[in-house]
Subunit: 200 residues, 2 copies
DNA sequence: CGTCGCATTGATATCGCTCAAATCCGGTGG
DNA sequence: CCACCGGATTTGAGCGATATCAATGCGACG
């Protein structure tokens, strides 16, 4: 996926404006005019929306080397907040320039289609995960679909609390579930990774 | 979105092979080699995967005029089953031909990017919906994001039972929730539509 | 050293799931 | 035309899983 955080393609780098953000900043807010597509050069950004009670709903967590708000290319406004979790360097590409590049450069267009397709598949996997009933099932699904290698080892990005939000669980429930699964020998936890263990 | 189910673009029609399916058929199954992208000319198709206990998880419900398995363009195999709900006419476009067309036709590439972007936004909306806690909140979110017009009127496709699956709820819970919301005057139900009513 | 946020565990409440049953409706065949 | 059937719809009762509220430890950071 992102072995060593792929760089911004040169064709785009020329069009982009880079900007630094501190943790807690917003790259953009929901409702703002969507005039740029963004590429996260470094750091961590979380896209979320807020329910009526102010509960944050995490739409997507972007890692270094990923685009975010790509779907806003064909949208008038941003539909979520982009909150900076880790000090970030963001390259912002004007939508109009990107659109033009898509028209002009067939190869780039192919790459862009591939990026969107991947995002779509990942998001669908997440829908599938959230549709599962039990907390343990969701954890298992996460490991099976996002874990690397034969043991399906999954590396946490951020805190367990963040993971809980991504899984649609409270952090308490996730802690308990992880503890129970480890107790039962279903998973193995190390510093910042979780892996499946043979059985069941 | 799909006022009267948009047709298959001519450029693609030439490349596609059309085939009819009866309700209950599978257009493809999970694990099969993904050599085609599909366009639903008519009918209804549901993309789903199955958990260990055989619980169907609905990934996507395709309507007439929509592509499905678009993300498989860059994937070796299908990741879900495509089950025909209503007798369907499906146009299957070889992945290789589609890829070639993307290279050759910049305008089509733009359209394709737009289609993927839309799907991505819709799927993210669904993630957001599934992350909400209460059944009523999910219904409200559905109406707010997918309902048309000022009253956010939403037209059911298929049964209430199907909707329950899409919302990640059991049909019993959804029936009860809808009844309660109507009782409270939050929503208004008609034949096959649900709409929000002003108040709280 | 004090504070803040994450991690962890306990107790309780609540919501949605499960099992169950009755009704309704469209379609089918006699 | 009517009896029958299967699936959708609807409502009931009880249980269990997860949310919620609460308390404590712990490490980072100023």
């Amino acid at each position: 996926m992102s072995a060593a955080s792929p760089p911004l393609p040169k064709a785009l780098a020329a069009l982009a404006q880079q900007q630094s953000f501190a943790a807690g900043d917003r790259v953009f807010r929901a409702g703002a005019a969507a005039r740029h597509v963004h590429f996260l050069v470094q750091g961590q950004v979380r896209l979320s929306r807020f329910g009526r009670q102010g509960e944050a709903v995490v739409i997507h967590a972007a890692l270094a080397g990923e685009y975010f708000a790509e779907a806003s290319l064909h949208s008038e406004r941003y539909h979520c907040d982009a909150e900076v979790l880790q000090p970030a360097l963001v390259a912002s590409i004007p939508s109009s320039a990107l659109r033009e590049l898509l028209q002009r450069d067939a190869e780039f267009a192919m790459d862009w289609v591939a990026i969107l397709s991947r995002q779509l598949r990942e998001t669908r996997a997440r829908v599938e995960r959230l549709s599962l009933k039990g907390a343990a099932e969701r954890v298992r699904h996460l490991l099976l679909t996002e874990g690397k290698g034969p043991a399906h080892r999954f590396t946490l990005r951020g805190s367990v609390k963040d993971l809980a939000a991504e899984l649609g669980l409270t952090h308490e429930t996730l802690y308990r579930t992880l503890a129970a699964m480890e107790q039962q020998g279903v998973i193995e936890r190390r510093a910042t990774t979780i892996a499946l263990r043979g059985g069941r």
